[in-house]
Every structure is written in structure tokens, then in C-alpha cells.
């Protein structure tokens, strides 16, 4: 059974989840969907995030998915990812969609995936009108593409904090304005990468997007085979 983890249910995660759940449901392949987020939906999220109730993001979205797609296995974990729980949250052969806005969590997840025999990690992030998606694929203990940290020192040596230990100032900074359409573009690119992987091969390790220029640029990221 394919285990799919969606970590982060903010702007990108909320855009990614409905088509992903629909696709998995109608594909009919056995899978379990796990939603992970320690944050809660609030009224201020409404301009970019659709939700039917206030409360923990993972629980609210898991309930919505379960109602819309009965029979699809979905569960919620109401926690932020930390070095202390990442091994419980992500296991070998998992597919991980990572839609977080901080490099510290990206590093925790990427470093953990490096220790697994098999993993597919698809991480998306954005600025106002541009963004990127990184695809880290491991198979049989070998890197088929580069980890999130290999060419990104800002992730390897993160200067930001984890949402799990965010101060008030950081929480305010985390509320920096974003564009709904950019979240949607990144979510779409993440799903495209997943589909390419499912079809037997993905030829890029990172893709850049700019919605004002109307362009995307895939880039190969060779892995360091062990």
C-alpha cells in the first residue's frame, strides 16, 4: 500500500490536497493519505485557504477528505515535524508532499529521507509571483536526484525557525502576504512531479516557476549514488 504524507496544510497544501485526494480515490490504487500539520485554521487564512471549520488544519482537512471521498484511507496528525518525531512520521517508501514555508523543517525532512532506503520527497515553496519545486528521489539506498540541501545552503544551514518553536515575532513574519495563484501554481507543479514519478521516471530534480513571466524551467539535479 502506497503511503502518502502531506506535510503542511497552508496555502500550498490546501491547493494540493483536493486534486490529490480526488486522483487517488478514482485511481483506485491502494493508498493511505496522512495529513500532518500542528497549526490551526483561523479566519485570517480564508483569502488563500478553503476550510469548512476552524481547528487543527490536519484534522479539519482529513475530515473534509473523508466526507468527500468515503473509502479513501485518510488520517490526521496534529503535530509540526521536528527532529524528534520525523522518524515516526516518515518511513521508507513513503511519498512526501512538503508544503512548508521554513527551511528548518525542509532540512529535517530531507535529512531524514536521506537515511531511508526509498523515498520520494516533493517540496514546494514560493515567493509572491515565483517559486520552486524540488524533487528528491531515493531508491534502494541510492539518490536518484539531489536532496533538498545539496545545492541549497539556505536549507542546509537554515537561519529561520521551526513553527514548532516560533516566537511571536516569527509567527507574525510567517504571515507574510502570499498570492493564492502562486500557491496553486506550485501545488500543480508538485502534483505533476508525482505523476511523472508514477509513470516511471522523472527527469528533473527542481523546477522553477514564474507566473508573471508565464514560464517554468526544469533543472536536472543528479544524485550522488552510494
Amino acid at each position: 500500500m502506497l503511503e502518502i504524507k502531506v506535510i503542511g496544510l497552508g496555502g500550498i497544501g490546501c491547493a494540493l490536497l483536493p486534486p490529490l485526494a480526488r486522483y487517488l480515490y478514482y485511481a483506485g490504487t491502494g493508498c493511505r493519505l496522512t495529513l500532518v500539520d500542528g497549526d490551526a485554521f483561523e479566519q485570517r487564512n480564508l483569502p488563500r485557504q478553503a476550510f469548512r471549520a476552524a481547528g487543527n488544519k490536519a484534522r479539519v482537512k482529513a475530515e473534509e477528505v473523508a466526507q468527500e471521498f468515503p473509502g479513501l484511507s485518510v488520517r490526521a496528525i496534529a503535530e509540526f515535524v521536528t527532529p524528534g518525531n520525523v522518524a515516526d512520521l516518515i518511513r521508507s517508501a513513503d511519498v512526501v508532499f512538503l508544503g512548508v514555508d521554513n527551511h528548518r523543517t525542509r532540512k529535517v525532512v530531507s535529512d531524514h529521507c536521506e537515511r531511508l532506503a526509498d523515498a520520494l520527497l516533493i517540496s514546494g515553496g514560493n515567493e509572491w509571483t515565483d517559486g520552486n519545486v524540488q524533487v528528491y528521489c531515493r531508491q534502494g539506498g541510492c539518490d536518484l536526484s539531489a536532496s533538498l540541501t545539496r545545492f541549497h545552503p539556505e536549507i542546509a544551514l537554515p537561519g529561520d525557525g521551526s513553527p514548532a518553536d516560533a516566537s511571536c515575532d516569527q509567527a507574525v513574519a510567517a504571515g507574510a502576504p502570499q498570492l493564492l495563484f502562486m500557491n496553486l501554481a506550485v501545488a500543480s507543479a508538485m502534483l505533476n512531479a508525482f505523476y511523472a514519478w508514477q509513470q516511471g521516471g522523472i527527469r528533473y530534480g527542481e523546477v522553477y516557476l514564474d507566473i508573471l513571466a508565464g514560464r517554468s524551467q526544469p533543472v536536472e539535479r543528479r544524485g550522488s549514488r552510494e
Binding site: D101, N102, H103, R106, S123, G124, G125, N126, E127, W128, D130, G131, N132, Q134, L148, F151, H152, P153, E154, I155, D160, A173, A174, A176, P177, Q178, V186, Y208, L209, D210, A213, R215, S216, Q217, V219, E220, R221, R222
Partner: protein, 90 residues
């Protein structure tokens, strides 16, 4: 942007040839005649036209290189654009 790049002393080619270097930064991809020049020179020349971050790591044909690396015809130089971080400027 083409005029800015020309003013920076770099000539572009319409297509990839045996003598050009492919330069990438984010969505930008250029074929330029810069063989024999260093990564640092290209970073300096393209900093303004492409808004290349001074923190962007230089990668030639898949390997991280030093700023003094001499570019050869046929190579691909990428300045790896920083990962998106929720609307915050680089």
C-alpha cells in the same frame, strides 16, 4: 533584458552551439559566449540583468564549483536560485 546583458559585456546566441555556455538562473536560460571566463565574472555581469542572488551557489554540469572556475564551451553553469520562502525577499 537582452540589452542589459549586452551592456554587461556578454553576447547571447540564438541557439546552443559548441562554443557557447548555457547559463541558468531560476526560470532564465541563456546561451552565451563566455567560454574562458570565470564564474565570478559571469555572476558579476549577470547580477543585475537576471537579479542573481549573491548567495546563489554556482553549479557547473551538476557539480558545485568555486568562483574562480574557468568556463569551457559546452558547459552548463547554473546559479541555484534560493528556495521559496513565503513571499520573503532573498
Amino acid at each position: 533584458m537582452s540589452e542589459e546583458i549586452r551592456q554587461a559585456g556578454i553576447s547571447r546566441s540564438a541557439a546552443r552551439t559548441e562554443v557557447t555556455v548555457r547559463v541558468l538562473y531560476g526560470i532564465h536560460a541563456l546561451e552565451v559566449d563566455v567560454a574562458g571566463r570565470t564564474v565570478a565574472e559571469i555572476r558579476h555581469a549577470l547580477a543585475q540583468p537576471l537579479n542573481v542572488s549573491p548567495r546563489a551557489v554556482p553549479v557547473v554540469d551538476g557539480a558545485v564549483v568555486a568562483e574562480g572556475h574557468l568556463l569551457q564551451a559546452g558547459q552548463q553553469l547554473e546559479f541555484v536560485r534560493l528556495a521559496g520562502e513565503k513571499g520573503r525577499p532573498e
